[in-house]
């Protein structure tokens, strides 16, 4: 995988030396550099973090905050700020968009299953038109799961690269547990739970599923 070899990592040796214990080490490749004593790459370390956090920490946050998509839509239409304050999750700072955990069901109206960024279009309000996109992956857009987790704080991470790897790792955990639909997808029933980032007005919801099932 061609990667550019820029950047310098600063490793603070936690030996009680404080700043005097800092050592600047050239970092030839942010993906392969041994960024910890264990010699793991950023990807590996963040994958381990996400895998360890998934059951005990991620799922409880979603379970505690989720609400039916239909209810959320009504509240967003009435007052997005109030809906965000009541049900939303986001990192500190007013400039960050809200993330929501939702549940619901609908009928698949379309999709793109031959793409690396596979997705389903789902009609959840019975008008026959897709109003929700469910991201199946393996390429999943966005940072909704990471940014919805109150225990994840950017200051605790080395830099935006490591932090981005964490978002990817959470998306990968979601993808691992996401079943693909079989046969003709159009018209199939789907039940979902997941997280999405609220984009600008009128933009379709792009859900990252944390639970998904078909039929029935």
């Amino acid at each position: 995988m061609p990667r550019s070899a820029f950047g310098v990592s600063v490793f603070c040796l936690a030996l009680g030396l404080g700043l005097a214990g800092c050592k600047i080490v050239p970092d030839p490749d942010p993906n392969e550099a041994g960024a910890t004593a264990a010699g793991q790459s950023d990807d590996e370390r963040m994958q381990a973090y996400a895998a360890d956090a998934w059951e005990p920490r991620v799922l409880p946050v979603i379970a505690g905050k989720r609400l039916p998509l239909r209810d959320l839509r009504q509240q967003l239409a009435a007052d997005p700020s109030a809906a965000g304050a009541a049900h939303g999750l986001r990192p500190q700072g007013d400039s960050n968009p809200w993330n929501f955990a939702v549940t619901g069901e609908g009928v698949i109206t379309g999709g793109k299953t031959d793409s690396r960024a596979a997705k389903l279009e789902v009609d959840t309000d019975g008008d026959g038109k897709g109003d929700l996109t469910i991201q199946l992956g393996p390429v999943i857009r966005g940072t909704a799961i990471r940014d919805a987790m109150p225990f994840v704080v950017f200051t605790d991470f080395r830099d935006q690269i490591e932090f981005a790897k964490l978002a990817n790792a959470f998306n990968a955990e979601a993808h691992k547990r996401t079943p693909f639909p079989e046969g003709d997808i159009i018209g199939q029933q789907v039940q979902f739970e997941g997280v999405f980032t609220l984009q600008g007005k009128g933009e379709k919801i792009e859900l990252v599923p944390t639970a998904l099932s078909y039929g029935g």
Partner: protein
Amino acid sequence: MTFTRRAFVSTLAIATALSAAGIAAAQDKPLIAIITPSHDNPFFKAEADGAAKRAVELGYDTLILVHDDDPNKQSQVIDTAIARGAKAIIIDNAGADASVAPVKRAKDAGVPSFLIDREISESGIAVAQIVSNNYQGAQLGAEKFVELMGEAGNYVELLGKESDTNAGVRSSGYHDIIDQYPDLKMVAQQSANWSQTEAYAKMETILQANPDIKGVISGNDTMAMGAWAALEAAGRTDVIVVGFDGSNDVRDSILKGGIKATVLQPAYNQAQIAVEQADQFLKTGSTGLDEKQLMDCVLIDESNAAKLETFALAD
């Protein structure tokens, strides 16, 4: 006002602390120093303008300084800000490692720093680091690029200046997405050092060796402009070009059907937010927020380019 202050300050860059303190005492409004790279790049001018406007609105006097991405010069202008009695420093820094010492010096002198755009390599020294999420922005640009390419074909990547962290961050963000598509093949990857003219020359050469390219993804907008000019000159306006920054030049190209997309870093708003946090900190002793805050970038394409002006997107 801005210009006279800058000229004034630069002539006094090595003024003694004594006379500088006298100047500070003569001011009736508290002073906020705003330090960025050269305003020759409209991106950094937008930062300085955004910060200065908000500072004046909040009742501050401003001291506008530039460091030209030179750590030594940055060190000097931070000393100037301290000597002038600035109550806070808003800064787009000149290097993640090199900036740690001068920001700490300001902290030790009782002057809190509020960083914009780029991170420094230690936390606990600045009060706030409001970081443009270049990685997320690059992923957005790459997602659009992949879509435009139809998930397949030969492409070229133009890299920024190697010494700039953001060159590496953006490239990693691009590849994070693009490398997940096995049918997209990178046939050339070269640095054009953020430069338009260099990108033009590099693109001409690359095109001769690889006439079958379908797309160019560029680390910034000036290089995207250079690449596009070379492609136009070669009659290859079929090639998909995606940039990064959200400059007015690329906006105009998108609206004319040239370059396909770019990624906006909200420089103007970000600088304003930094001033608001400085104001909050000076009044209450806390911003109430984590030190490091990520600000997302926004994809600009034909659907929203018309709303873009000087690194801000109209509602």
